[in-house]
């Protein structure tokens, strides 16, 4: 397989004129550039092998011409906000989490980045107050050194204090250093997904360790950023309860939960269509072993349990 991060960059004709395109091409000067008419000519090709592409992903730079903000799925926590939207600025991710729904959502493992960031920002300004997930079908902070998407949003929010929506950047990355010099906007939350070390090692391939994520969180809180912790999804594999209780101990040993925006805990769930596609193409050895059942068009754990309560108790949030 190719050794460099993106051996090839496919650039959509319409994306050529954007400064970000040139910036990225300059940063990836060893990659070969191929011009394409439309990004779907490459991304939606028939018969692609997700696993092979994941080992040698290509970058596709494109322009999104509509639907900058999409209404969020009911499967996702909107944290009490009635209007929940997400922005798909990128499709696919650097990381290789075995449970990720993206494996069942896209037929390609190549990474698409939309370079018309300003259009997304204009759309966000036009919307009424909403909760908007910026890092939804990807991990924007993981790509920060290459694309600067998160910095662009931070600068935009600082320049538009009247924007009354709340934004979230969810990540597993340890790239906080790339944005730490910026002023934290009051309406942006950085959310870190946390998993036990055993889960990270075994199922969250290429992601930073728990310790690195916790270090970033601590630093971000210290610098006045709004931070949320996400223990989501909780994976029922092996001696999972012990692992997650150890995680709770580690979190409470490093971070005072009162300094955060809270903690979000969620079981694994995935739309049935994605689940079936992952199984059919044998893209994950993990989801076979999760005790999932079909309910309302999605696969999820069979019955509610009091794990969440135990976990919160362990964290010292409730008595």
């Amino acid at each position: 397989m190719q050794n460099i991060i993106f051996s090839h960059i496919y650039i959509e004709e319409a994306a050529q004129k954007f400064p970000l395109t040139n910036q990225i091409a300059t940063r990836l000067k060893n990659s070969r550039i191929i011009l394409v008419k439309h990004y779907k000519d490459v991304f939606n090709k028939p018969g692609q092998n997700f696993t092979a592409q994941k080992n040698s992903p290509k970058l596709i730079l494109a322009v999104r011409d509509s639907k900058y903000l999409t209404e969020g799925s009911q499967n996702c926590d909107s944290f009490g906000h009635s209007r929940f939207f997400y922005a798909t600025q990128m499709m696919n991710c650097l990381y290789g989490c075995e449970y990720c729904y993206l494996r069942g959502m896209y037929s390609s493992a190549n990474v698409v980045a939309f370079v018309n960031v300003e259009d997304y920002m204009d759309a966000a300004l036009r919307e009424d107050a909403m909760y908007c997930a910026l890092s939804y079908d990807s991990d924007l902070l993981a790509f920060e050194l290459l694309f600067n998407y998160v910095s662009a949003w931070i600068n935009f929010l600082n320049a538009n204090p009247s924007c009354n929506s709340l934004f979230e950047v969810r990540t597993k990355s340890a790239n906080f250093f790339a944005v730490e010099h910026l002023t934290p906007p009051k309406n942006l939350i950085l959310s870190w997904t946390l998993s036990p070390d055993e889960i990270i090692l075994r199922y969250e391939h290429k992601t930073p360790s728990l310790q690195k994520r916790l270090d970033c969180i601590k630093k971000a809180i210290g610098l006045g950023w709004r931070v949320r912790l996400c223990v989501d999804p909780v994976l029922h594999v092996g001696n999972w309860e012990d692992c997650y209780f150890k995680l709770a101990d580690k979190i409470s040993g490093h971070i005072d939960i009162k300094d955060t925006e809270g903690i979000s805990i969620g079981g694994y769930r995935i739309p049935v269509t994605f689940y079936r596609r992952i199984k059919r193409k044998n893209l994950s050895g993990l989801i076979d072993r999760l005790p999932l059942t079909e309910l309302d068009g999605q696969m999820q754990y069979a019955a509610g349990d009091d794990f969440c309560l135990h976990f919160m108790r362990r964290l010292g949030i409730i008595l």
Binding site: M1, Q2, N3, S7, H8, Y10, R32, I34, V36, K37, D41, V42, K45, P46, G47, Q48, N49, A52, Q53, N55, S56, K58, H236, V237, G238, N239, W240, E241, N282, G285, D288, R289, L290, P291, Y301, A302, A303, D305, F307
Partner: protein, 306 residues
């Protein structure tokens, strides 16, 4: 396993086929002179049809087969389809000569990253998954002979795009490789004699085959189950009369068990299930559920029921 040590590709491929280490290679060329170095190196023999008629010249050895399809879009598509319909290739190579608009020396090997079907006006993008040292560029395929100045693409020929689109109907894109060798620059096409072409292709085959076998070897990997395990799994499938989905589920459970506990335990468990007598379909289902649960239990990843 580098071929540099032994350039005898025929022996290399035959030995590894016996051990099931590398899959069957198919080669498609337009002209016989393009095929000769591959026929020789892969120790292939001409296939003679029992009825005495073959629409295309075909050659075969224990680990590779080759088809000489002829020039132009119809021959490229028909020849590839005929060849692939025999189901004797797991990887496919289209190799042949092309013209170049770039200042590349004659004999340079080209790995096109864009293929343009100029007849239909459509463009396809081959998967570029493998590390290589060849020259990349766009290649347009025309239904007639052209001069270099007539097209704006880096390279031009009469088959590649037609071949690739046909091959996609049969094989996964990551297993289809198109490699072209620069023979002329359009204006000097008339100087390419049979003898010169043979020399160009001979040199190219020396570079192409070792690279190709290396990536085939690297991307095929070890088989999931050893021969004994596979036979036992087949026996369990037959004994329990498992459906296709159940067979796949059992394979996954067996693979997980093998990874965590080694092969001995898997063989022991499978052996217990090959001579079970069944009276009903329901009994088979119960046994199957018990067997997969037991195999998953042994992985240490068995979910705790809440």
């Amino acid at each position: 396993m580098h071929l540099e040590k032994s350039l005898d590709a025929g022996i290399f491929i035959a030995q590894n086929r016996v051990n099931h280490q590398i899959p069957m290679l198919g080669v498609v060329t337009a002209l016989h002179c393009e095929a000769v170095p591959f026929i020789d190196r892969l120790k292939m023999k001409k296939i003679i049809s029992q009825t005495g008629h073959m629409p295309f010249d075909m050659y075969k050895s224990s680990g590779a087969s080759l088809c000489v399809c002829g020039t132009g879009p119809v021959n490229a598509a028909a020849g590839s389809a005929f060849f692939l319909a025999q189901k004797n290739s797991e990887w496919l190579l289209n190799v042949g000569m092309c013209g170049s608009n770039k200042n590349l020396s004659v004999g340079s090997v080209v790995y096109p990253n864009v293929l343009v079907d100029s007849a239909a006006g459509c463009t396809v993008y081959p998967e570029m998954l493998y590390k290589h040292e060849f020259t990349e560029g766009s290649l347009a395929s025309f239904p007639r002979v052209i001069n270099g100045g007539e097209c704006s693409f880096d390279f031009f020929d009469m088959e590649a795009a037609f071949f690739y689109q046909t091959a996609l109907k049969f094989l996964a894109p990551e297993k289809i490789i198109v490699l072209k060798i620069v023979s002329d620059h359009g204006a000097d096409a008339g100087g390419v004699t049979k003898k010169k072409a043979a020399g160009i292709m001979e040199n190219a085959a020396q570079k192409i085959l070792p690279w190709l076998f290396e990536i085939m070897n690297e991307h095929t990997g070890e088989p999931l189950f050893a021969r004994e395990e596979k036979l036992l799994l087949d026996a369990v499938n037959a004994n329990l009369k498992l459906s296709f989905c159940q067979q796949k589920m059992l394979e996954r459970a067996a693979s997980a068990c093998k990874n965590n506990n080694g092969t001995d335990l898997l063989i022991k468990i499978l052996n217990e299930n090959i001579n079970v007598s069944l009276k009903s379909k329901n009994e088979s289902k119960i046994l199957f559920n018990g067997l997969t649960k037991r195999l998953f239990d042994l992985t240490g990843d068995e979910p705790c029921k809440t």
